[in-house]
Each structure stands twice: as structure tokens, then as C-alpha cells.
Symmetry: C2
Subunit: 436 residues, 2 copies
């Protein structure tokens, strides 16, 4: 392969993923050359911090804090943007595009906040932006939706897209422990940040769902408008009751085409044991798609982490070098301003679902009749009930768990409001969607 | 989209998949145009049988038995070869390539029998052959291995690649029925042919595994050389014992890189409940890949059938029209004669595995000691044993089920030979691999 053509590339942002990418480029050079049809030479690695220790030692002379040395080098045709901060990344990507580089990014926030501006600029300049690594790490979900399923009307998409949240819920289930204990474990293992809120609050998942909804349904939606519930209020009692009913609680992102439009939401949901989504454990991610031709397809893998993300970045880099990204980018028209009207979002009130309800009620006659009476008046039919005998020495409060048949979010919300006003019902009732 | 460029295409072989493809091309024209960047016009459908009723009614004038009308039309740039017979398909594909067409095929036998000849010819002529639909239908396994995982050394691949076999084993497990009953059910549902042997005997799976081993490991192997055991001898008793032990029996194809080379085999195996492969039910296919960067990735979907296969054909067709297939084909060098040496296959005798053993033994003292003594002398350690109390009126034969710890195929074969010579052991013992 000595006579092979050489493609010079650069990394901007030398954190964990950057170090993983550099490791693959340098240690897997022959393999990558075979797939790229050229030897891929890492010409520059740019970071503002030259001192911080990294997990991979670059050959001397590669690391620089001078972005201009990349921009000014016309031989560098493809650049991997792996900067964490979306505002800094935006201006870096614009500079790279203007100087004629094709860009590979792993930054989902960059896409949701600045996708339209950057993609329009790239199109005008005849450049491409590849972003497989920005979504679900090692799972090739962008390629699956935009290439492999091109013949399909996608009907629904269910994803476990946040490894931190799934790790925490899996710990709670497998170790029968409280949320706070599982969170501490996740932080100790490096699966959760010191401030876990973007992950556990559902924001990270909502950003990913906004991108997937665009790719799969052409929807244009601000991720902040997606109804979302984090996993940070899931209690161990609910994990236990769910198991007793034959379900696991999973952090779901849902996009579903319905007659009135597109339904999008992010929330912990009860998923029936024995279905593929229920078996997604620990830090794994998964996406289940139903297409009208292909039927049900399910992709499962590590959604984050240094090497899975680096693997996706290299795949995009090879596509960029080969020119496959340019072709895909030109035809797919992501975030184009002249694109067809966005799909209407359906109001959450009308979303049909089965529900899991847990109420703390007084242990006295007629309580069940009052509660089920209210559910009945709202047209909500009960599928199953758990009320265990209370312990002799317990206070006069018992948990009452109800699984409903399919009803709507709005009806359940109304019924729960009425139920909450009963004198026999204590505050802090729980409501979660159920998926069989 | 009235001003869009037009790409003329043709179908050769108008069976179930051909009808599915025609349906998508005609009913999904706008969607396909959006992804292909051109309007895709189905210009000709060729079949030797013009009379047979089909599931999709073509517009008049499209169906012809004259292949030359395609070959002679220089405007037709891409042709989908959907003929069942591999010998006929070979000569059709050669003619298509010679006349300058890019080819999309769904024919795996064509690839294993004539792949090298056809791919070399296509490379010489500057044409491409796309074959996502030839493997695992709607699961984008070719794209996953050859594009998305390009940065990875693939370490192992486990697949459920034959929907017929998986359907039959699932029926046996879920309905607690004999093989013959499940096979009849599969035939009635259209999942099994009148002659089920190519599916249930493991030949179909071995062909697919040979192709996957080539894509993932660069191996060149004749599918007939892959050790294979069909599912046609799986007994309901073994399905029951497996369940009791916490396993399901699945029709597995395995390719695994080991220090001595590549291990390939096809056989029914016990897969532990709660792992993703154990949850693959009915006619579904799945592939689990471990890559050294990406970790474990799992793809699950319908591996055959009219519309899932048609979906994959259209995806390849769009890639061909866009020129992405040409790029992939040029760089990937499938079945090239100057390719690196094939990976050495490891002898089945050295393959390590846990094993499930079922013996029919005499119900008398010392039997267990004699059998476990032989296992011990072969260095085989026992993980668990099931022997249920025999019924009062039963004959003097009881089944003895043994799960071993990891050992080698060769040692187990030797031990079973010695055990078979014991007077207390009846013929027809069963041996299957186990995967946790």
C-alpha cells in the first residue's frame, strides 16, 4: 500500500473521543486505508488546552492550539469536529466549511441549535457535514434511516437513547436500590456527570429525538417543545411493582406517526419483559423502527463512550474521503429551509397509551370503589390492580397500583386530578406510560 | 419534482420480491425520488413466465420475456436481478454487466457460487453489484459491516440467519409441540417450502455465513466446508430441558476470530434467556457483532419476505443510482483474486464451548458414576445435571441431561463415544453447543 494516495485529515477538539479517533487512525492505519482507498494521515490535532493529560499519546508535533494551521492547509480535506461546546463548535465548523473542508461531527447539540445554519452554508459551499457519531454512538442509526430504509414510510421509532439513564434504571432493577444509590454508582463508573441533569432530566434524549424525528419524518421541532419527563423521579417501589407486573422501566424516546400528526415524547415507560427493548441493559442504547415495507427493525449497541463514538467518527470520515458523504448530503437535504412543511405535533393530551398508576391511599373501606369510580367516569378501563396486604405495624397508608387499558393522556390527567382531591388519597401519586 | 432528471431501471425475475419492488417503485415514487435525487422510472420487467398471476398488477406494456429489450436500452442504467435460479442468474448478470448496467441482486446463492467471477467482471467493466438484499433481508448487515464498522477489527459474529428454522424452533418452544407439527405449521404459513431441507438442514445459513465471513474477516470459504448441523433433528424434549435450564434453542451461525484462525459453524445452540439473541422469535433474523472499537452491536429484523427484501433492494437501487454503490464497490474489493490470504479455518475439534448433553440411560445404580467418570477422564467439568424421577410405569430408561463447563468439541466427541459404548447408555444421545 506504499503507493496509495494520501488523504490528510485533522481533529479539532482533543478530548476522550478525539483521543479514541487518533488511536484508531494511528494504530489501524492499514485497515482504514483498505476501506478508504487511500492512506489517511492525521496531519493536525487542535485543542485550546495543550497541557491536559490524554489517554492517547500523539506523535510529537501533531497537537497545536492553532486552528488556522488547519484552515490554511489546503491539503487537509476532511476535519473531525469533536469540541464539546456547541457555540465554539459552530464558529469552528463555519470556518472549516468556508475554507473548503468537509466536516465530521459528533456534536448533537450543534445540530439541534445550529443545524439549519450550518447545513445551508455547507450546501452553498458544496461541502458535506456527516454526523453519524452525534446520535447513539456505535449504532448506525443515521445510515439506517437515511439510506437503508429509504423505501419505507417510517411509522414509529422507539429509542433508548441515553446510556446514563438506562444504566441508572438497570442498576435500580438489578440491585433493588434507590435512585440516589444508582446515580452515585453511575457517577463512580463514569456513566454520569457531576451534574447529571441533562441526562437524567431527559434533555439529552429530547435533543436526539428531535434529530431522529427530522431524519425519519422530516419534522422540524425544537427539542424544548418535546414533552419530556426525566428518570430522576423514578422510585424503587415503582421498579418493583413494574417487575411484579412483568415489566421493566426504561427511558424511552418515542416518535410515532398518527392520523393527526406526529407524536413525540420522552419519558420513563414500562416495557414488557421478553420484548427486545426490555432487554436493553446498562449503558446500552437501542432503537426500534417500524417501516411500512421492512416491518420491525431493532438496532442495539453502545450509545456513547470513547471507542464506540470514535468508531462512528471514522466511519463518517471514510465516507467523507470516499465522497459518499457528499452524495448523501447533496440529496438528503437535511434542515433545508425549502423543505416540505414540518409534520404537526399532536397535543400530548390526545396521545393514547396504557398507563401505570401508583397511589398512596388510606387503608379503609370504600377507597377502591371511590377511585375506580372516578376512573370509570373518565372512560378509563382497568387491566390489573395490585394492593398488597399492609403490614400490621404500618401506618394507615397503602400503595395501590393500577394498570389501565388504552386511554388518553388527557383523560388520565383529568382523572388523576379528581382522584387527588379525594380525602383518602395522599399526594405524590405516580403515572407512567406502558408499552407492550 | 416535475423537472427532476429521470433514472430508468428494470427488474429481471418477476416473483414475489420482484412484485414487492415494483409496488414500491410505482406507489412510492415521490419518496424514492426524494432519496435518489431523480425520478426512478420502472422501464421494463422481464420474466420467462408472462402468465402466472402476481401479487401486484403492473401497468400494461411493462412485463416482457425479452431480456434483450433491457440489454439493448442504453438508458436503463441499473437493473435488479431477482431470479431464483443461480445458474440462470449468472448468465443474466454477465449480460447486464457487459451491456454497461449496474446490478442489484437479492440472490445469495449467486454470490457464493459465482461471486468471484461476477465481481471481477464488474470491476473490469467499471460496473457495480450491490447485494444488501441477499443477506438477512431487511437487516442492513452489509452496510453495517462494510461501512459503519470499517474502523473495527471484527472479533465475532453470531447470527440467526434462517427465518424458517427460527420460526420452527419458536413454535416448538411456545406451543410445546414436536418438530413435525411445527414444520407443518411453518409450511402452512408460507415460512417453509415443500422441501424444507435447504432451510432446516443449515445449508441456507451456511451460504449466508460464508458471505458474512468474507465481508467481516476477508475469509474465502466454500460454504460446503462450514461444519453444519440442521435443526431438523431437534426434539421437543431438548427444547423443554433447555427451557428448564434457562435457555432457548436457536439456529445459530457463528464466525469467531481465535488465535489459531477463524472458527465457523452452523448449528442449533442453547442461548441463555435474557440475552438479545434468545429473544429473536418467529421468522425474525438477527446478527450480533463484536468489534474491537464499537463493542457489541445487535441488529434484529425480518430476514426474508416480500416487502422486507424489496425494501433492501430499493435501498441498493438508490445507492446505485446515486453512485454510492460504485464507490463502495470500487474500494471494497469483494472476492478479488489478489486479496490477502484467506483466514485459516480452525478445526472443529479445537472449538471451545460449553455443551448440552442428553443421554438415555438405564435407571439403575452406578450409571451416573460411570458417565461422569468418563467425562472427568476427558477433562470435562460438569456445570449442572437434570435427572427427573422416572414415572412408576415408565420403561427402565430415563433421560439424563448434563451441561458442561467450557471444553472442546473434540474432547466431548471422544467422551461421548466412550459413553455410547457403556451398556447402560442407549443410542441417540444429543449434543448441542451452549452460549451464555
Amino acid at each position: 500500500m506504499a503507493n496509495m494516495e494520501v488523504a490528510k485529515v485533522a481533529i479539532v477538539g482533543y478530548g476522550a473521543v478525539g483521543a479514541g479517533v487518533a488511536r484508531l487512525l494511528l494504530n489501524r492505519a492499514d485497515r482504514i486505508a483498505r476501506f478508504a482507498g487511500k492512506r489517511v494521515e492525521l496531519a493536525r490535532v487542535v485543542d485550546i488546552d495543550l497541557k491536559r493529560p490524554r489517554s492517547f499519546a500523539l506523535p510529537p508535533g501533531l497537537l497545536t492550539d492553532d486552528l488556522d494551521s488547519v484552515i490554511a492547509d489546503p491539503e487537509i480535506a476532511a476535519v473531525m469536529e469533536l469540541v464539546n461546546d456547541a457555540v465554539a463548535a459552530r464558529s469552528i465548523v463555519l470556518d472549516l466549511l468556508e475554507s473548503g473542508k468537509n466536516v465530521v461531527t459528533a456534536n448533537k447539540t450543534l445540530l439541534v441549535e445550529h443545524g439549519r445554519e450550518l447545513f445551508e452554508r455547507a450546501r452553498k459551499l458544496g461541502r458535506s457535514i456527516a454526523f453519524e457519531a452525534a446520535l447513539a454512538g456505535g449504532i448506525p442509526i443515521v445510515a439506517a434511516i437515511t439510506e437503508c430504509l429509504a423505501a419505507n414510510q417510517i411509522e414509529s421509532l422507539h429509542g433508548i437513547l441515553n446510556g446514563t439513564s438506562n444504566f441508572i434504571l438497570t442498576q435500580m432493577e438489578e440491585n433493588d436500590c434507590e435512585y440516589s444509590v444508582a446515580l452515585a454508582e453511575a457517577q463512580q463508573c463514569g456513566y454520569a456527570e457531576a451534574n447529571p441533569e441533562p441526562d437524567t432530566g431527559g434533555g439529552d434524549t429530547a435533543q436526539k429525538l428531535a434529530i431522529l424525528a427530522h431524519l425519519a419524518f422530516g419534522a422540524r421541532v425544537d427539542w424544548r417543545d418535546i414533552p419530556r419527563v426525566g428518570i430522576n423521579n423514578v422510585e424503587i417501589d415503582d421498579v418493583r411493582y413494574a417487575r411484579e407486573l412483568g415489566y421493566s422501566i426504561k427511558p424511552l424516546a418515542v416518535a410515532e406517526l398518527v392520523p393527526e400528526g406526529l407524536e413525540l415524547h420522552v419519558s420513563p415507560m414500562l416495557i414488557r419483559h421478553g420484548t427486545p427493548l426490555a432487554e436493553v441493559r446498562g449503558a446500552y442504547n437501542a432503537v426500534r423502527i417500524i417501516g411500512d415495507a421492512v416491518g420491525r427493525i431493532f438496532l442495539h449497541g453502545l450509545g456513547a463512550g470513547q471507542m464506540p463514538t470514535a468508531s462512528a467518527v471514522i466511519s463518517d470520515l471514510i465516507d467523507s474521503i470516499l465522497g459518499r458523504s457528499a452524495i448523501s448530503f447533496r440529496t438528503s437535504n437535511f434542515w433545508a429551509s425549502d423543505q416540505q412543511a414540518p409534520v404537526t405535533l399532536r397535543s400530548p393530551d390526545n396521545m393514547p397509551s396504557r398507563f401505570y398508576l401508583r397511589l398512596n391511599v388510606e387503608d379503609r373501606p370504600n377507597v377502591m370503589a371511590e377511585i375506580t369510580g372516578i376512573l370509570g367516569r373518565h372512560g378509563i378501563s382497568i387491566a390489573s390492580v395490585i394492593q398488597h396486604e399492609s403490614e400490621e405495624d404500618a401506618a394507615n397508608v397503602v400503595p395501590l397500583v393500577i394498570m389501565t387499558h388504552t386511554t388518553s393522556e388527557g383523560d388520565v390527567a383529568d382523572a388523576m386530578k379528581s382522584i387527588g382531591q379525594l380525602s383518602c388519597v395522599y399526594p405524590d401519586s405516580v403515572r407512567m406510560r406502558v408499552r407492550d
